[in-house]
Amino acid sequence: MLGSRLHSIFPVCYTYARIQELHPLLKRFIVRSTSCNQDNLLTEKSLVGVPESSIYVAQRPSIPLITKREIEFPNRYREPKQAWLESLDTLQDEKLGLVDLHPDIFGTYPRIDILHANILWQRWYKKIDYAFVRSRAEMPGGGRKPRPQKKTGLKRQGSIRSPLWRGGGAAFGPRGPQSFYYMLPMSIRTLGLRVALSVKYAQNDLHIVNSLDIPSDDPKFIEDLIDTRFWGFSALFVDDIDIMPRNISLALKELPQFNLMPVYGLNVYSMLKHETLVLTLAAVEKLEKKLLAQMHKPENDVAYKKRH
């Protein structure tokens, strides 16, 4: 259902035309070969040093490809936020249209305290501290009184493993594997996701892309792309499902700062760790649907404790 809606917005494949003599100005708009069918992916040389006669230009249908998007649970007091639909086909940005975004998800108030609470929760709820030190009862020995109570002139001692002694047990040391598990309410966690997305959008670190298909699996291509577009030192590419296209998977394998993630793996910590967030259109659709469902669900959070 989602796929059919997308196909109606822009077509499946692009056609190509081979040009013998290319005007110098048009070189800026050279498009690498792309196709939605993975079997027909063409590998081409980099832009530098390619003779003019072999340059391919993709003939897309007329831009803009997307002008309007359906928004569920619209906010009647606020207009939708808008973002460009970009592509990863070329080094330079190519804007394919405008995307409407829900204001409650991409335009909430920047609640830094909510972000802080979410990040703390993410760091602590899984943590298990294995630190353990023995008490005086668990130390070997220490049952006998070292010397008589009186008359020796020395301090009265009951055991060689008292916490006062060197080599003795700890009185209040860390005790055993300890967990720090707790759950934030679901409403606070959804709000955290919404605030993180809003903050990314407001600071121009959010980019929406038609798909994660790139023309070559060379890591240099994606590095140059990110450098050209000033996306920063680190970027998170989020797709609808957890099966990613071949080229981008191979390219980002060698680059630890650029990571791929499905929508269900998205979280506040990763969004703030990576400088840029790149969402595909399908990911945006799914994300909005899930978050709005949580925001407008009839059950309340009291039942969470019983369920978990």
Binding site: Y125, K126, Y181, V268
Partner: protein
């Protein structure tokens, strides 16, 4: 030994070695005699005040000794004199053992596999289909997954989950755990007002 000195630059002070120790008062008018070769230098039992070539005077090397040891003067046991026991053989030797020092600083890799994708799937109950919850992602001891308690509660829970194994395989731990449980029970329930962690 002083072959690097030019004959013209050498001034030899004709005074005996012992006279030096008597102090500045006893410095007589000495005659300066120029020597033509280094052999004459070594034969004289005297102190040489030579103009040294341009070198930093902060460090001394074996060549900078003030007098040459005479071959006629044999090392005989004696009860007088001062024996310098300090090592003046030059820089200390490098031994085969490695030099103990602090570990070289290695900054942490912020983009290692764990750190780059830390926090992934923490919101899977919201963004997924709801069958998986964040509690399922925790890895650790069986009695601590998705649960939190103070020490007393943790020990009881540990006994419930793995007590039967501890009794067979780790009897000392089993015994110590029961001791601790009894101690904490008295501490928390009888001695009121004490901190419970």
């Amino acid at each position: 030994m002083f072959s690097w000195l030019k004959p013209a630059t050498v001034f030899l002070r004709q005074s005996s070695f012992h006279q030096l120790h008597t102090g500045l008062k006893s410095l007589p008018l000495f005659k300066w005699k120029t020597l033509e070769n280094s052999e004459q230098l070594c034969s004289c039992k005297a102190v040489v005040y030579a103009s040294l070539p341009c070198r930093s005077s902060s460090s001394l090397s074996p060549e900078d000794k003030f007098f040459a040891p005479s071959p006629y003067r044999k090392k005989v046991p004696k009860r007088y004199g001062y024996e310098n026991k300090l090592f003046d053989g030059g820089p200390l030797p490098r031994l085969d053992e490695p030099i103990k020092s602090l570990k070289p600083y290695k900054p942490k890799d912020s983009w290692s596999k764990d750190r780059a994708l830390f926090g992934q799937n923490d919101y899977i109950d919201i963004l997924g289909d709801g069958s998986v919850v964040p509690k399922d992602l925790i890895r650790g001891p069986r009695w601590l997954l998705g649960w939190r308690g103070n020490e007393f509660q943790r020990l009881i829970r540990k006994m419930k989950t793995v007590g039967h194994l501890m009794r067979d395989i780790y009897p000392t731990y089993y015994h110590n755990n029961w001791k601790r449980i009894k101690f904490l029970y008295k501490k928390y329930n009888i001695k009121r007002g004490k901190r419970v962690r």
